[in-house]
């Protein structure tokens, strides 16, 4: 079938601002959007810049705004999209070129919540593996699924308006450790997230939950973190 694409292009060397360009490629309805973007890049215009790595919804490199909704280009099928397919880079981050944005502010928020196992080694000499029951593991199972694609954070209207907001992805990754029975850094993370532009900046718009290509219940995780921060403060 013929697929009509409308891509937002931006070349910092020649353009003042982004503009749309139209392309047509021949593809199968069961092809993914990423396949069509590859056809454009490989056959029509090799200057098209985009990130992708595994191309199977795991690496989280190719999050884009597809027909107004954040999605991974490697996970959406052509048959499910209305044409022309309008593709834009994810929002709220500095645009570098075409579909490539500067992800550094996103990762800064991620790093700020200390997304690693914090344990007091003096109390817990690791003589063997740190055991955990299936029930304890289940508590944070949903938030282990995050692939850091930034689809949630860049769909968040608060992140668009407040560049310093920590963003849903960072909170999801804090949740993954806050509710981990082996971790001892919950208090520290909850204090960090209770600061200005932290978790309480969330207005429960639910855009993040709708945007997550992994189906994580992002807003629910955020609310659980808010509740944990509140109970810790009493």
């Amino acid at each position: 079938m013929d697929v009509k694409l409308r891509l937002l292009r931006f070349n910092p060397e020649s353009d003042d601002k982004p503009h749309f360009e139209n392309y047509e490629v021949e593809a199968d309805p069961m092809d993914r959007l990423l396949d069509c973007l590859h056809l454009v890049k490989w056959q029509k215009d090799s200057s098209l810049a985009l990130r992708r790595s595994c191309a199977h919804g795991v690496c989280g490199s190719d999050a884009m705004v597809v027909n107004g909704v954040n999605a991974l280009a490697c996970k959406v099928l052509i048959k499910d999209l209305e044409q022309p397919i309008v593709v834009e880079p994810i929002r709220g981050l500095p645009l570098i070129r075409d579909f490539i944005v500067d992800m550094e502010p996103f990762f800064a928020g991620y790093r700020a919540v200390k997304p690693w196992l914090i344990v007091d080694e003096s109390q817990h000499e690791p003589e063997r593996e740190r055991l955990q029951s299936p029930k304890e593991r289940e508590r944070f199972d949903d938030t282990t699924k995050c692939i850091l694609c930034a689809a949630c954070t860049t769909s968040c209207p608060i992140f668009w308006s407040d560049e310093e907001y920590v963003g849903p992805a960072a909170i999801v990754n804090a949740h993954r450790f806050i509710f981990d029975s082996r971790d001892q850094g919950s208090r520290e993370r909850l204090e960090i997230l209770s600061q200005r532009d932290g978790v309480f900046k969330c207005r429960t718009a639910f855009n993040c939950t709708a945007a997550c290509p992994r189906g994580i219940k992002v807003t629910q995780a955020i609310q659980e973190v808010k509740r944990a921060a509140l109970f810790q403060s009493f």
């Binding site: 937002l8 601002k17 982004p18 834009e88 880079p89 929002r91 709220g92 981050l93 500095p94 645009l95 944005v101 500067d102 550094e104 502010p105 996103f106 800064a108 928020g109 700020a112 919540v113 200390k114 209207p157 608060i158 668009w160 308006s161 407040d162 560049e163 310093e164 907001y165 920590v166 963003g167 960072a170 204090e191 960090i192 209770s194 600061q195 200005r196 532009d197 932290g198 309480f200 900046k201 207005r203 808010k226 921060a229 509140l230 403060s233």
Partner: protein
């Protein structure tokens, strides 16, 4: 209206950091909004019922009606709590909206300043009426 060009930051934004921020009172405002929201649901419904549905509704509300009601310290307290919670809940909601939508720092401070001044005036006026109400001045 946000245009396509506005959707992407022109410069590198200041990202969230865990090192330089003062601790926040947002957690308590968040908690207050939940508690006051639940309380206001009942307070406002009771208020609307008494003022608009009982008897001939708002037609019967007069100085004497208020004087009779406020003879009871319980109703005085009810009305004052309604005043305080509604004002603070509404003001905080507006503050949050202003923080989200007004991006220029000077404009934001000016609008929030006006909002807080208005809240303070309404709070003082309302409280003064409740506290100093004198049924004997009526006809």
């Amino acid at each position: 209206m946000v245009t396509v060009e506005d959707a992407y930051r022109k410069r590198k934004p200041k990202a969230f950091s865990n090192e330089r921020r003062p601790s926040s009172t947002e957690i308590w405002w968040w908690f207050f909004m939940r508690i006051s929201g639940v309380a206001l649901l009942f307070l406002v419904l009771i208020h609307l019922y008494i003022m608009h549905l009982v008897g001939s509704g708002v037609e019967r509300v007069s100085f004497d009606f208020v004087a009779e009601r406020w003879d009871n310290v319980g109703w005085k307290t009810f009305d004052w709590v309604l005043l305080v919670l509604a004002l603070l809940h509404g003001t905080n909601g507006l503050r949050v909206i202003i923080d989200d939508y007004v991006r220029a720092p000077g404009k934001r401070t000016a609008i929030k300043g006006t909002l807080y001044a208005l809240t303070a005036v309404l709070m003082i006026m309302g409280t003064a009426v409740v506290v100093t109400f004198d049924p004997s001045v009526g006809g």
